[in-house]
């Protein structure tokens, strides 16, 4: 047998949607995490409730990589409908475990593969009477196979099952039984014929880490950041974000009288959802909504209103594949261009780009400070990969900064003032005016908010000079905003003249690809943008490079275009690496395309 390969391979599990495979997959992933292994998980699921195929990839990496891996060393085929294709697609020389009770052995005839036929359905049927439970537990049986074949730690796996179902002892019991059936079957019938092993690591790498989905983290961040009003409309992949806000509000925000320190309204559509949030932001609440591409399209008119009337709101956009309905359960970064200028006229919006759940939490928490200080919409640009997959990330730090509510003029302030001018900003104000909240008991407080032309005193006007002055002020405000926005993160290799620029979930693939390139003698550095408008660090970074590869998870190089528009004279240096097929990026692809771009085949 070849040399042992430990903690450095991927497993791809092919199941059908709605069969309970998610729980087995998560248990698997969590067990690896608790073993101290660097693990990542990607769920590739269909836009369907029950029956369509789902693939789950669990990657272990000795080098700390967590991007999607192009090929998996181990394939577990549980889905009868897709096994032929799954078998065909299995990487050369990989391992295939399949349900031999429902997939005929003669179909598994590739000479390069190592097969483990396991009659999963049969042994599940023999052990459990209830048909529904059988289907669910078949997945745990495969997990037992993994425990025994690859030495996923049994005790830890059992511990995860106990913790997951801690309130349901019966479920724990049946899950453990299923796990043991898998373990015993392998022990008694299946000799090991491969070299893949999991082993506990004691580097302590996961000690200060947690496992969380980006959407859960964003929702938590909003709750810590003080959201009191949310309007939302269900859409994949952002619904679980809204549900996380609901969950944490119910957990932390119900007072002793059973009253809610939050108002959550499911709108009739995304226009209403954002309208609710605009009304609440105007009235002085920290208000947010969350959606995905189709909802963003609908919100566009009201986003422009919030921009022009200067109302603080936060919009989380969990991006999915477009155009139109697109591929609702696949990931993409294809709303960057649209959101940057969402709505007609000269409109510009602030965007935040988190790359992991910790940043989701932090940016969501800070987004209200940014929105209220600048009195403008803030878009938190996540994506399906980040939002709906489970990620291993650093523990969150407690945000102890006081909320910054921005320039709100109170009744008390007004008593000292001769006038209040809603849309007036002095030289030192960087374009940011002050506002009063409705309900302020002072004759100077009131003003009229509108999306039509207005002067410094919020009066309707079509005056040419006043219009232009206002537009220039809005631009000044926008450009000054970078001081409050998360700075880019730069990682460099000394002497490198080739730079990568990316946002969000492209990160993991870029990190891995840079190592691959380095092995081919291509030195690179890397700047990860975390907000728009772009910080001046980006200008300096581009200056310091001969060539800058901008990674885009979309067809049209939206990030690159925005950089080109924002950084004067950057165009000659910018190379576009724009690709998206709906799956998270993988490093092999990045490396290959980078070499092509640099003509270094």
């Amino acid at each position: 047998m070849a040399q042992k390969i430990v903690n450095d391979f991927s497993v791809r599990i092919a199941t059908a949607n709605g069969t309970g495979s998610q729980s087995a997959n998560s248990t698997f992933f969590k067990a690896l995490f608790r073993m101290g292994v660097c693990a990542s998980a990607k769920n590739l699921f269909p836009s369907n409730i029950k029956g369509l195929p789902t693939w789950f990839q669990i990657r272990a990496s000795r080098h700390g990589y967590s991007a999607l891996k192009k090929h998996s060393e181990i394939n577990i085929l549980v889905n009868k409908d897709t096994y032929k294709k799954d078998h065909e697609d299995a990487a050369p020389h990989s391992i295939v475990i399949y349900d031999s009770a429902i997939m005929p052995e003669q179909d598994f005839n590739r000479r390069d593969l190592t097969y483990y036929p396991i009659p999963l359905t049969k042994i599940a049927t023999e052990s459990f009477d209830n048909a529904r439970i059988r289907v669910l537990l078949k997945n745990i049986v495969y997990l037992g196979v993994v425990v025994e074949l690859f030495k996923l730690d049994q005790e830890i796996t059992e511990g995860v099952i106990r913790d997951t179902f801690s309130h349901k002892p019966k479920v724990v019991e049946s899950n453990l039984k299923a796990l043991h059936i898998g373990i015993d079957y392998v022990k008694n019938n299946v000799p090991k014929r491969d070299s893949y092993y999991y082993e506990k690591e004691n580097t302590g790498r996961n000690n200060k880490k947690v496992v969380m989905e980006g959407n859960a983290a964003t929702g938590l961040g909003f709750v810590y950041g003080g959201v009191t009003v949310m309007g939302w409309y269900p859409i994949t992949p952002s619904s679980s974000l809204a549900e996380s806000v609901i969950k944490y509000c119910e957990q932390y925000r119900v007072d002793s009288q059973g009253q809610n320190r939050f108002a959550i309204i499911q709108g009739e559509d995304e226009m209403a959802s954002l309208g609710i949030v605009v009304g609440a932001g105007w009235a002085g609440a920290r208000a947010m909504t969350c959606t995905s591409g189709p909802g963003i399209s609908l919100m566009s008119e009201i986003a422009g209103l919030a921009y022009y009337a200067e109302i603080p709101v936060v919009i989380a956009n969990v991006q999915r594949v477009g155009p139109s309905t697109g591929l609702p359960t696949r990931t993409q970064q294809s709303d960057i261009g649209m959101v940057a200028n969402l709505s007609h006229g000269d409109t510009k919006h602030i965007m935040l780009f988190p790359a992991n759940p910790k940043e989701c939490f932090e940016f969501a928490n800070e987004s209200f400070d940014i929105a209220e200080q600048l009195q403008t919409p803030v878009f938190l640009m996540s994506d399906l990969d980040l939002g709906m997959n489970q990620w291993v990330c650093d523990e969150f730090d407690y945000p102890d900064k006081p909320y910054n509510r921005g320039k709100v003029v109170t009744e008390h302030d007004l008593k000292e003032m001769e006038t209040f001018r809603r849309y007036f900003a002095g030289d030192e104000d960087q374009g940011i005016p002050s506002r009063t909240l409705p309900g302020t008991n002072h004759p100077l407080a009131s003003y009229f908010t509108r999306g039509s032309g207005h002067d410094e005193d919020a009066r309707y006007t079509e005056d040419a000079h006043v219009y232009w002055r206002n537009m220039k002020r809005l631009l000044k405000k926008f450009e000054s905003s970078t001081q409050w926005l998360p700075k880019p993160v730069v990682e460099g290799q000394k002497g490198a003249r080739i730079g990568f620029v990316a946002v969000g979930t492209s990160h993991d693939a870029v990190v891995e690809s840079r190592d691959q390139l380095s092995q081919s003698g291509i030195k690179t550095k890397y700047l990860r943008l975390r907000s728009y408008p772009f910080h001046s660090d980006l200008h300096e970074f581009i200056d310091s490079c001969d060539q800058v590869i901008v990674v885009d998870q979309n067809r049209d190089a939206q990030l690159k275009e925005l950089i080109q528009l924002s950084v004067a004279n950057s165009e000659p240096k910018l190379l576009s690496l724009a690709y998206s097929d709906g799956l998270p990026l993988n490093a092999e692809l990045l490396t290959q395309k980078t070499k092509e771009l640099l003509n270094r085949e």
Partner: protein, 352 residues
């Protein structure tokens, strides 16, 4: 603009209301409507309503969509915050303001284009949610601001300003409101302030969404012979359900009436409206089926029913439904809103 805490004059003035403000204090900037536009009469009615009730303007927010009608919030209650939103989206913005600060008195103004077409979904859903607001539609059966196109409340076969006949059927807004679950539905005529003002007052006293469709002729585009939204037509075909009077909470109830001809309706804040029977009909606004029947019968005769058409005090309003505390949400700070460090620690532990 006048100071709410104005120093009281020595001699008692007769032109001030119970909080010491004059009617002038409830005015807005000068109107830019066409002279004679029904919308201006409604603005006057709104000014009288707030003045007579003695509502402090700072507690009021006035919101609207887009249209001539939606411009009017600038023409009343200058000392109130106003919000001219986008076309058809006033109800959602009003809903957000309502839940953010439940102490605000939310007053929404819309048009028939704004509410019966582009914003019909928002109108229905604000009603369905029972946002605590007054929702006024200034209904002229036309798109005034975009120069006289048919609206969804234009009646079938009726000619527009240029003589082209409408071949679509009309949406009856009060009927739609009732069907959508509205707990307070009225209709008034801009030319009859005696009826409009008590209805508006009652709407303000109502908790939940109070919807009032106000016939408001557009003198420029829809006041011609043959129009069913002209002054002349509405005046002639106004089928009043009753004479309305509003009696404020706490004011001594002295009603001059002979038993049997008057219905009393008690509103949430304890104020009362009296509905005085006209002719022989004793209209019962709490009967939903009858309300719809009355509207349908009038519609078939091309008549316009006005008055308090439907009233149901038992529906919970949005803030109760959301279990909001008495203290407005905007008054909570980070101490009340941010979960503790311990909570975060425990959560982190559970994610291991």
């Amino acid at each position: 603009m006048s100071d709410v805490q104005a120093v009281k004059p020595v001699a008692p003035r007769t032109d001030v209301n119970k909080i010491g403000l004059t009617k002038n204090d409830y005015k807005g900037v000068p109107s830019t409507m066409c002279p004679g536009c029904g919308h201006d009469s409604i603005s006057q009615g709104i000014i009288s309503t707030f003045y007579e009730l003695g509502i402090p303007p700072y507690q009021v927010v006035k919101l609207s969509g887009i249209g001539c009608s939606s411009k009017t919030p600038a023409y009343f209650l200058h000392p109130s915050h106003g919000f001219n939103a986008v076309h058809g989206r006033m109800p959602s913005v009003a809903t957000g303001a309502n839940v953010a600060n439940r102490n605000l008195i939310v007053f929404g103004v819309s048009g028939d284009g704004d509410s019966a077409s582009i914003g019909i979904g928002q109108m229905i859903h604000a009603i369905r949610r029972n946002t605590n607001m007054v929702y006024v539609v200034e209904n002229n059966g036309t798109y005034g601001l975009t120069k006289g196109q048919f609206s969804a409340t234009s009646d079938t076969g009726v000619p527009d300003h240029w003589g082209v006949k409408n071949d679509q059927t009309a949406i009856d807004l009060p009927m739609l409101a009732i069907i959508s679950g509205c707990s307070f539905v009225g209709r008034a005529f801009s030319g009859d302030r005696k009826q409009m003002v008590p209805l508006l007052k009652a709407a303000l006293a109502h908790e939940g969404c109070a919807f009032i469709d106000i016939m408001s002729p557009c003198v420029t585009f829809n006041d011609h012979p043959g129009s069913t939204k002209s002054y002349e037509y509405v005046k002639e075909h106004d089928e009043k359900l009753h004479d309305i009077d509003f009696i404020e909470e706490k004011s001594e109830i002295k009603i001059d009436y002979d038993e049997g001809s008057i219905r009393k309706v008690t509103l949430h804040d304890g104020s009362i409206i009296t509905l005085k029977k006209l002719d022989t009909v004793d209209y019962d606004p709490s009967n939903k089926v009858n309300a719809l029947k009355t509207l349908e019968e009038a519609y078939q005769k091309m008549e316009i029913v006005t008055g308090l058409i439907y009233f149901n005090e038992s529906r919970k309003d949005l803030v109760s439904h959301l279990k909001l505390p008495k203290k407005p949400l905007i008054e909570f700070g980070e101490k009340d809103l941010r979960p503790s460090q311990q909570a975060l620690g425990e959560l982190m532990k559970s994610l291991k």
